[in-house]
């Protein structure tokens, strides 16, 4: 499918493979963040909390938090790549100017970059799933589908991040990006069930893409299949599509003047 509408996307992807063969440290260290959250909050604070109710039964707090950390690891992998790294290539290093002087077009470029940022998300998610298995935090074989489910998370945050990045003017603007990301991470049903939010606030939290991604992954990890998961997938796909189309339009406006 990709080969037909973005035939040269893989060559853009390959460029990133070359770059990160030297910067593997960046990728490896990124894996530790969710692990520290699991140990510090899931087990540390979880030791005080004990168990919490989920889908009709009491589950250990660490088991409740872990799927959310897996989902946010995928989000972080995708979003850091599609914001910082893409901004550097777009505005600073002029990498895209060089790429667009070849047969590669803006569509190829966007798809190639999104594939790459998504791969990072999938790598983090897979590694974290292994940790969860080792810690006995997985309650259903369906959890093995989690690394596939995070593709929806990776594409939606990657595409949205890419689209936002095309509007950033300088490195200073990144601080504004974090105004969005930190609350997104903390308030998206990551560390406590959405049920604890009062009415209107809960409606907003339910609309957060990470809430949807977390719901998807958590349902899989507990083997709790439900129809809302289809909403999750549809919602994340819609964000991916809108983000992608906006990013391509903006890239064209910025680079093909």
């Amino acid at each position: 499918m990709i080969a037909s509408f973005a035939p040269r996307a893989f060559s853009v992807f390959e460029r990133n493979v070359f770059v990160y063969r030297r910067q593997w440290l960046m990728i490896v260290t990124g894996f530790f963040e969710p692990l520290f959250f699991l140990l510090g909050i899931g087990y540390g604070v979880g030791g005080v909390i004990g168990t919490i109710p989920y889908a009709g039964s009491d589950v250990p707090y660490a088991a409740f938090v872990a799927p959310a950390l897996l989902a946010s690891a995928a989000m972080n992998g995708a979003i850091f790549d599609s914001t910082f790294n893409i901004f550097y290539k777009l505005k600073y290093a002029k990498v895209y100017d060089a790429i667009l002087s070849t047969p590669v077009g803006v569509g190829d470029l966007a798809v190639g970059e999104l594939l790459w940022s998504n791969l990072r998300g999938v790598i983090y998610a897979t590694a974290f799933l292994v940790v969860m298995l080792a810690f006995g935090l997985v309650h259903s074989p369906l959890a093995l589908l989690a690394p596939l489910a995070v593709i929806f998370i990776g594409f939606s945050f990657g595409a949205a991040g890419f689209a936002i990045t095309t509007h950033l003017r300088s490195w200073k603007d990144f601080d504004f990006l974090f105004i969005l990301l930190t609350p997104l991470f903390l308030f998206s049903a990551t560390f406590y069930p959405v049920e604890i939010y009062p009415g209107a606030l809960r409606a907003i939290v339910e609309l957060s893409p990470l809430t949807r991604g977390t719901h998807l992954v958590r349902s899989l990890c507990f083997g709790n299949l439900n129809l809302l998961m289809l909403v999750d997938v549809a919602y994340l796909s819609a964000i991916s599509l809108i983000g992608y189309r906006h990013a391509v339009r903006r890239l064209g406006a910025l680079l093909l003047k």
């Binding site: 260290t29 963040e33 540390g44 604070v45 601080d175 560390f191 406590y192």
Partner: protein, 281 residues
């Protein structure tokens, strides 16, 4: 023979002169602070979030939200106060760490390696030591400013009730910033790219925020981890900050202050030495 004898005091005199030449001047470092303030005045909007807003969001997200889950069980670790009141002073210290460390990393590397403004500064009467002292002083000042804001919010919201305790917490944040900024500045001035920061932040700063008694007592950690935790500055900062906020007595409080000062002073000396080595080759 006699010539050698008379040369000896001269040599030790010149060694003294060399030390004086390399040491920071009592006041010149203020010009470096002035330069950094001038830059900051143009760029401050970009750091408002990370300096002022983000710590409050973390407090709301983890303090209030987790507080609901912890509920009555909080008393077991907090000694009676709410979970939010328990972690607020700790978060204040850990955001002083985050801000101090962040300011000591990319902005310093940028000036040493990318913008190379420090090359221009040491071509003036200022020396390498002045630049380092000025840079660290600026970071500490910036953290002091952010900490004052955070403490004010805690007082207004009633999370912290004692104004005297709030002043004490600000002082702890200043020491914390010093303890982290100075060693990280020393690291930054040796770097060519920002790749090394991935190590510092993801493998040191992030775990410290969790395992320094911030969200749960250090005593809940396994034995060796407790020891490791006390070897780092943040555990001391959290202990001090919480003691000020809750008005609980602290045994050996001076040792905690000493630990933070030691980290900061050793870091400053290392920063001066390493920066000088980089600039003068």
């Amino acid at each position: 023979m006699s010539a050698a004898q008379s040369a000896a005091p001269a040599r030790s005199l010149s060694r003294l002169a060399a030390i004086r030449e390399a040491a920071p001047h009592p006041t010149r470092w203020r010009h470096v602070v002035g330069y950094m303030l001038a830059v900051y005045r143009r760029e401050w909007q970009g750091s408002v979030f990370s300096a002022f807003i983000e710590p409050l969001i973390v407090l709301a997200g983890l303090g209030i939200g987790l507080g609901v889950l912890v509920g009555d069980k909080a008393a077991a670790i907090t000694g009676g106060v709410s979970y939010v009141a328990y972690i607020a002073p700790a978060l204040m210290a850990s955001s002083a760490m985050n801000l101090g460390a962040g300011e000591a990393a990319w902005p310093i590397l940028a000036r040493v390696a990318w913008v190379r403004i420090y090359h221009a500064i040491i071509a003036t009467p200022l020396n390498a030591a002045d630049v380092m002292v000025g840079a660290i002083a600026f970071i500490v000042g910036k953290v002091a400013f952010a900490a004052t804001f955070f403490a004010a919010v805690l007082l207004i919201t009633g999370i912290t009730t004692s104004p005297g305790g709030a002043v004490g917490m600000i002082a702890v944040s200043i020491l914390t910033a010093f303890a982290f900024a100075a060693p990280i500045v020393a690291f930054s001035v040796t770097q060519k790219t920002d790749q090394g920061f991935a190590f510092i932040f993801r493998l040191i700063i992030t775990p410290l925020a969790f395992f320094s008694g911030t969200y749960f007592p250090i005593e809940n950690l396994p034995g060796p981890a407790q020891l490791l935790s006390w070897c780092t500055p943040l555990a001391h900062a959290v202990a001090l900050s919480r003691s000020f906020a809750l008005g609980t007595p602290l045994t050996l409080g001076w040792l905690h202050i000493l630990a933070l000062l030691l980290w900061g002073l050793c870091g400053t000396v290392a920063a001066i030495y390493l920066f000088r080595r980089r600039m003068l080759k």
